[in-house]
Structure formats: structure tokens, C-alpha cells
Symmetry: C2
Subunit: 337 residues, 2 copies
């Protein structure tokens, strides 16, 4: 690998933007705007963790990093169009430090922008000229279908007012919604790009690590960071009424009276929730000891996943790339900020 | 062709449902519901005009009809997921005689159901085993990208309150939003499935015929049918504030005072519009002579398109299939009910 990881990630970012069709020079202003809207989220930056994982996995499997750029870019595009739609579905306020797209242009335009980005992702993938292209196409089919399944569970629990989400149900949701596309798919794509059959342990390892990552993310969503500021948005999950493992454990381990109050605070439309009330909800959750409990679940998942992943990567063609993969996912699965 | 067209359309419908992944028997109830929601629109029936056109075009180009079933089913799937998203974007009330999906389950779930149907369409297409598969994949990329472009224009005009949509702008929108996927794509897909390069005249012919179809559809949206009932929903386009050619011609040819009143009636949120007011708007449009004017535009488009299409199909391998194509699109482009 002659380029640094930063330089490769820049290559991926440029491949993402290149995949989003530019309008013809003589198209009208509204079509230029349409193209700009598709580039909005990708241009906001973001950590591009999944792309980095695809590149590292390709390298670990003996491929030239260059070969992995289209698949990595397509996975970033996937992440971006899913975020556009998720933000509408959750009515999120912000994304990467700016207002969510639908809050800038309205939900109708944003949904359609997401669809245009989705098909741009397929255009990029279908344009790959390599013997392993069809396996990559199939991997994207599986990845998107699973993610949509997980998203359905997440949304359905909110809309049906289901409060008693136990650990198994939560994990079944989060493995589909987040873990597969965040860890399993990148590991598998890297192997496929190298013309190698993905190690079957990537799936259980990636699901455990991805679940740990999401559990940490749920906790971080509720905790102020070192500067005293909250993450994506102040306790956004509470405003959105998300069923997290945190909430499940809190309800299971708090006095009945607190559980009733928590339900009352969280089960109302977003615009009827005040910041004071969400702080009260947060205090109830803290007092229940749920934060420590779910951190323990995340730690167990992280440990099991890392053990399996190390085994799966033990015969990697590039030991350095394998080590970088383990480091990256460990940081994700164990992050505390 | 041994099966009747009705029997083939039934084959296509079954292929659509088969493409929508069934949940595993032991999946939880919510995942079974997710699968059912994806099958909702396809199971509501619909005319399947585009599928019929794909099958006929394949036959006209010398293919076995059987070969065209996956592409025809994928085009129906496309139509169905686009309708799920369009109905959210337009906040439509009904679809094929029942409430629009988002009115049954809420917009968040409906958007995600549309995404799951979208990826099911790609799974079906990627699974095709034939030398022409990649050309069909590319045709879908082009089709979806154009449709999203046209949808953007349509939505952006509504959201920006643009009232002065002239004939050229309207046609540029409708060619992308409706005409390409309704007529051009089916004609081209039939050729591709037969291993034949599509005649270049299919594009201008299909765009003209598809535009005629949409203009008629816009008019029919506003007129009660023979039973006195309105189409999809009572003057739904007026409630949704759609920019139609009808509206453009009406504004251009009515007294200033009427134009101001029309603008006042149509430029307000849907829930501030009464049926009485929409009837008043309809009367203003009628009096302007716009209906006759746009019917004339549709007729000119239909005539030009049919002439080109007949030329393009003059060397068809099956004269009967070619004649059936012309008949079908003529019915669409000239329908008065």
C-alpha cells in the first residue's frame, strides 16, 4: 500500500461523488439542485469507518487496495442514502452537525433524493469490471435487505408503542439494522474483492462487534461528552422514543413507579417532549443501573467478537492489515466517547 | 405464444410476489408483517400495462415470452415501490381503491417498505442468468435515475410554489417522471431480452406517447367518470397542488382575476383545502378552455409517437405482437376514460 489510509479514504470520497450523476450543463437550475442534494450528506464528511474496513479487509486478503475502491465507495453511498431515509423516518434534527436533509428541503424531496442515491449506488456496482462483481452485487442485496428488516423492527416498536423489548429482541434488531452492514459486510466485501471466499466466522464475529458498537452508541447518545455537549443531538433517542437495550434494562430493573413515569415521559409525540422531561427520563435510567448493565453486555459481545475475528484473520496475507482491522473494530466496539 | 396474455400476466404477478422475500417460519410476527407490507401494493392488482408491454415487445423481437418474465416482473416491482414512495411524497389518500400504505402504517414504515421492495427488485434482476442480463441491469439504472429526476422536478415545483410551468418545462418533467418508464423502458427491455439492440426510435416515440398518456391522466384526474365518480381520488392533483399542463394552460388563458383566485385556492396546505374550493378551482380551469387545449397537445403527441413507433416496429419478427403493442399504447395515449 503506497498511499496512506487518509489518501485512500479521499479516493473513496471522490469515487462516491463521481458516482452521483452530474447534471448536463444545459439542464435547468432545479436539476442542478437535485444533483447537489444528492451530494449533500457525502460532502458533510463522516468517519467512513465502513469504507476503511473494506479497504483493510481487501488488503488483509491479498488484494490491491485500488481494487476495493468501488465496493468501498458503494458501501459509503449505501450508508448515505440510508441516513437520508432514516432521518426522515426518525424525524431526526441533525446529521453530522447540520440540519437533517428533510429539515432543509422537506420530507418529499428528501425521500426522492435518497432513492436517486440508491440507484447511483447500483450504477457504481454494476459498472465494476471484475470476475467477482456478481458476488459483490449479491452481498449488497443481502446487506440492504437485512438493514431494511432491522429498520422495520426498530420503527415498528416505536410506532406500536412496544415498551418491553428484551435483550434477545433488541439484539435480533440491531444485528440486522446496524451490525451486518457496519462490520460483517465490509469484512466480506474485502474478501470477495480479493477473489477469496469470506471466512464464515466473519458473520458471527461481525454481528457481535456491531452489536457492541450500537450498544455503546446508544449509551453515548444519552451521555454528555467531555465538553458537556451531547452527541448527535441531545438525547435524540429519547425524543424519538427509540427502544434501546438501555431502556429495556432500565424498565426491567427500576421500581414500578419509576417505570410508569418513564413510560409516561417517553410515550408521547416528539413535539410534546420538553428538554426538562427528557432530563428527568435520563435520570430515571441512570438510577436504574442500566448503563452499567448494558456496558457489560457490550463488553461481552466485544470480547467474543474480537476472539472470533482474530481467529478468522489468523491466516491473513497481510498481518499488518489484519491487525489494523482488529484495532479499528476494537475501538468501535469499546469506545467510551 | 401458447398462454393467453391474461395467463402471462398472472405469471408476472406471481414472479413479483416470489421476488419479495418471505420471512423464515420462525421469524417473529413483526417480520411476517414486514413481508406482508411489501406484498400489499402488488396484491392490490393494477393494470400491469408496463409488464404487458415488456412481454409484447419481447415477442415482437422474436424472444420466447417466458424469457421476458423476470424483466417484466422487475418493472412491476419498480412501479410498486415507486408508488409507495410517491404516495408518501404526495401524501396521497388512496391507491388502487384502498388507503395509501403510509395512511395505514405511517410514513416511516412505508418509506422503509419501499426500500425493501427496491432491493428485492435488484435481487430479481441480478438473479437473471442470460447473456443480456447486464444490459437489462443498465436499462433499470437509467430508468430509475430518470424517474427520480422527473419526480424531483414535480415535487420541487409544488414545494417552491412555482405556478408558471410552461409546456416545455412540463414535458421535460413528465418525459422523465412517467414516459420513460411507462413506454420507452418496456419497449427497450423487450428488445434486450431478445438479444436485439433496441431501435433508437423507441425513445422519442415512447416519450411522446408517454407524455400523451400522462396528459390524459391529468385530465381524467379532474373529470368525473361515467358513474359520476372521480378517478384515483376526487381531483387529487388539485389537493396535492400538482403542476400539470392543464394548470399551466389554464393560467395562461384566463382573466388575471381568475388566475389570482386559482392561485389562492391551490396554494395552501392540503388540509386547508375544502371540496367546495376544489370544485371552484375546477370550474375556473374548465372555463379557461384548458381541457380542450391540453387534449389537443396530447393528441398531437399521440399521433407523432404512433407514427414513429409503427416505423420502428415495421420489421418486427411477430407482426401480431407489433400490432398489439401499437393498439395498447394507442389506447393509453388516447384514452378518454
Amino acid at each position: 500500500m503506497t498511499l496512506s489510509h487518509e489518501a485512500w479514504e479521499d479516493r473513496v470520497r471522490r469515487a462516491v461523488l463521481a458516482a452521483l450523476e452530474a447534471p448536463a450543463a444545459d439542464d435547468d437550475a432545479e436539476l442542478h439542485r437535485f444533483a447537489e442534494l444528492q451530494r449533500d450528506y457525502p460532502q458533510r464528511g463522516g468517519k467512513a469507518i465502513r469504507a476503511r474496513l473494506v479497504l483493510l479487509s481487501a488488503e488483509a486478503h491479498g488484494a490491491e487496495v485500488e481494487q476495493a475502491v468501488p465496493a468501498a465507495a458503494a458501501l459509503e453511498l449505501f450508508q448515505n442514502w440510508v441516513l437520508v431515509h432514516d432521518d426522515v423516518e426518525d424525524d431526526s434534527e441533525t446529521r453530522r452537525g447540520r440540519p437533517a436533509l428533510h429539515r432543509l428541503v422537506g420530507a418529499p424531496l428528501a425521500i426522492n433524493v435518497g432513492d436517486a442515491m440508491h440507484v447511483a449506488m447500483w450504477r457504481l456496482l454494476i459498472g465494476i469490471q471484475a470476475p467477482w462483481r456478481d458476488e459483490v452485487l449479491n452481498e449488497f442485496v443481502v446487506t440492504i435487505a437485512r438493514t431494511a428488516c432491522g429498520q422495520h423492527l426498530d420503527l415498528a416498536w416505536v410506532s406500536s408503542g412496544r415498551f418491553d423489548v428484551d435483550e434477545d429482541s433488541y439484539l435480533a434488531m440491531v444485528e440486522r439494522k446496524t451490525a451486518y452492514y457496519t462490520v460483517v459486510a465490509p469484512l466480506r466485501l474485502g474478501a470477495l474483492v480479493a477473489g477469496v471466499a469470506p471466512d464464515p466466522r466473519f458473520e458471527p464475529a461481525g454481528l457481535a462487534l456491531g452489536a457492541a458498537f450500537q450498544i455503546r452508541d446508544d449509551v453515548l447518545n444519552l451521555l454528555p461528552d467531555a465538553t458537556g455537549a451531547y452527541g448527535k443531538e441531545l438525547a435524540g433517542d429519547l425524543f424519538e422514543g427509540k427502544r434501546t437495550l438501555l431502556l429495556g434494562h432500565a424498565v426491567a430493573h427500576m421500581p414500578e413507579r419509576d417505570a410508569l413515569r418513564l413510560r409516561e415521559l417517553l410515550f408521547r409525540p416528539r413535539d410534546e417532549k420538553s428538554h426538562e422531561e427528557m432530563h428527568e427520563a435520563l435520570e430515571l435510567i441512570r438510577r436504574s443501573g442500566a448503563i452499567e448493565r448494558v456496558q457489560a453486555v457490550a463488553e461481552r459481545k466485544a470480547r467474543d467478537g474480537l476472539t472470533l475475528l482474530r481467529e478468522a484473520l489468523s491466516a491473513a496475507k497481510s498481518a499488518a492489515a489484519a491487525e489494523a482491522i482488529v484495532e479499528l473494530v476494537e475501538t468501535l466496539a469499546r469506545r467510551r466517547a
